[in-house]
Symmetry: C2
Subunit: 317 residues, 2 copies
């Protein structure tokens, strides 16, 4: 298992720079007053396809040789990675085969179709997903691009932190959400190289705290019955991200469901950001551990903004 | 014609405060570097119903006596005012009668319906609109709430600037877009009272520069053949807003269509704001008159965010 290093992230950055959006880093003085700290928000909800996932997907797609690329890419996902991979593939003019459960929400299906992805539906079990993907890969020769357990995907995700630090200069803490660990491990690699004194702290839903428990146990503990509004973070950790996180991540703080909802409202009201629930988890973790962060300069990666605000009653006020 | 004064805006503010959203004020250091100035963005694109219009509509609805309110409110509009009035009325539990041209885009029709507005379609001429509205008002006894030529609407719109200044403290310039003049005149009343030394400068599309010409001429010059991407600013000035603007607005700067598009991209990339074209006009005017603003503290009201980003090719990069 080859583990990415910072130079690999730099290579990814020069590869994807002409294609990905350099998203905004914004501040809010009312937010700073509220938390007695200086918060910088990296707006990956404004990334193409609506999430940081486009960075990793683009890097994976652009890393393929011409011959391999012609056969296309494949993945199983019903979330942001599927949309990001479909868009990245269409920008290189190659096919993207996406396996999705029949139960996937219509809006997610439409998004992938809109980006030119070719969808194969399967039964909504992990086994069916993997079998269907295997068959597709065998038939087409497409390259399987795992959403987070993938060298080039992790390198791509690490580029958001480079841009963040280019804007802010020195920081005391950088925060990101953790689900499979792709964003967190890429972020940690960049931060620890550029700002060795800076802490990397992840936010994770209390109701899906497998990463927190894994980091403490020193081995991957799978996510069981994750019941959280932060649907992007229900997945278990990947081995490759975990091997990076073990050395480079300082802490994982958990957040209650109420705090995640409150953080979504704060982000909307004080920062003007309509964040999907997963994106609000680091701020929620900060809210539940305020004392740790007072007086500090904190960068927070807002991971994505693909949400239907009408779905959340608490966002209507 | 009774002209609003600052105390009327304060009354409006205490009336609508429990209902409207206190929207974020945000900053971006890359934007500040770019313009050698300190820019504060008031995020009314995150207001309920997606625009500042909800402030004025709510104030108008809540200002009605119980008897008058029971008969409902009415307006003709195919834009943000219609949606805002429908929502404000539904929150008071009274009917909103909205006259819309048959040619109105389906998305605007759906938004008004979703907020519980009762739509009457008419032919797409000004005469048909006015006739249909007159008939509706005669039949129902509903109060006509003009989108900007209305005392209470102007007072409501002026509350955004109060919140802006509460966040920022002293400012050298406050900018807002000008269409009918409701937001601009309300903003000017608040700014000139709270920060008498602060300039109030409007942004207007060069292709619909009737307000700029009216201010110079000292009388309202109607908008003729306005052909601008900033569809919210195609309308002519109202008499009541104009009577305020004449005394309280320092300047109106115009912006080319290219600058408006470029400002939309800058807002998305550097401030994380997906602004409708009208909202980008003040920044566009600033971009075309940079020297005037260097070294200054500038508050910019982002008026609304109701747009379909897929409609604009230049937003896809």
């Amino acid at each position: 298992m080859q583990v990415p290093q910072f130079p690999d992230i730099l290579k990814a950055y020069s590869r994807i720079k002409p294609v990905v959006r350099r998203t905004a880093v914004i501040e809010s003085s009312s937010m700073n007053r509220l938390f007695k700290a200086q918060l910088f928000f990296k707006c990956e909800h404004q990334q193409k396809a609506g999430a940081f996932k486009f960075r990793g997907a683009t890097n994976a797609v652009l890393s393929l040789s011409e011959n391999a690329a012609q056969k296309g890419v494949a993945t199983h996902s019903s979330g942001n990675h599927a949309a990001a991979l479909a868009l990245a593939a269409s920008m290189r003019g190659i096919p993207a085969y996406i396996v999705m459960p029949e139960s996937a929400p219509e809006i997610k299906v439409k998004t992938v179709e809109q980006f030119g992805g070719s969808i194969t539906f399967c039964e909504p079990t992990l086994e069916a997903r993997e079998k269907t993907l295997e068959r597709l890969v065998a038939e087409t020769g497409a390259a399987f691009i795992h959403p987070y357990n993938n060298f080039q995907v992790i390198c791509g995700q690490g580029t958001a932190a480079i841009e963040l630090i280019e804007e802010t200069g020195t920081l005391d803490v950088v925060m990101a959400p953790v689900g499979g660990g792709g964003l967190l491990s890429g972020t940690a690699l960049s931060v620890k190289h550029l700002l060795p004194q800076c802490n990397v702290i992840a936010g994770e839903p209390k109701m899906a705290d497998d990463a927190c428990r894994s980091l403490k146990a020193g081995q991957i503990i799978p996510s069981t019955y994750p019941d959280t509004i932060a649907d992007g973070l229900r997945t278990s950790l990947g081995e490759l991200p975990f091997s990076i996180m073990r050395n480079q991540v300082d802490d994982i703080l958990t957040a209650s469901e109420d705090a995640i909802k409150a953080a979504m409202v704060l982000l909307r009201n004080h920062v003007g950001i309509l964040a999907e629930p997963s994106s609000a988890v680091p701020l929620a973790a900060l809210m539940e551990n305020r004392a740790l962060f007072e007086g500090k300069r904190i960068g927070i990666i807002i991971s994505g903004g693909n949400l239907n605000p009408d779905k959340y009653e608490f966002l209507k006020e």
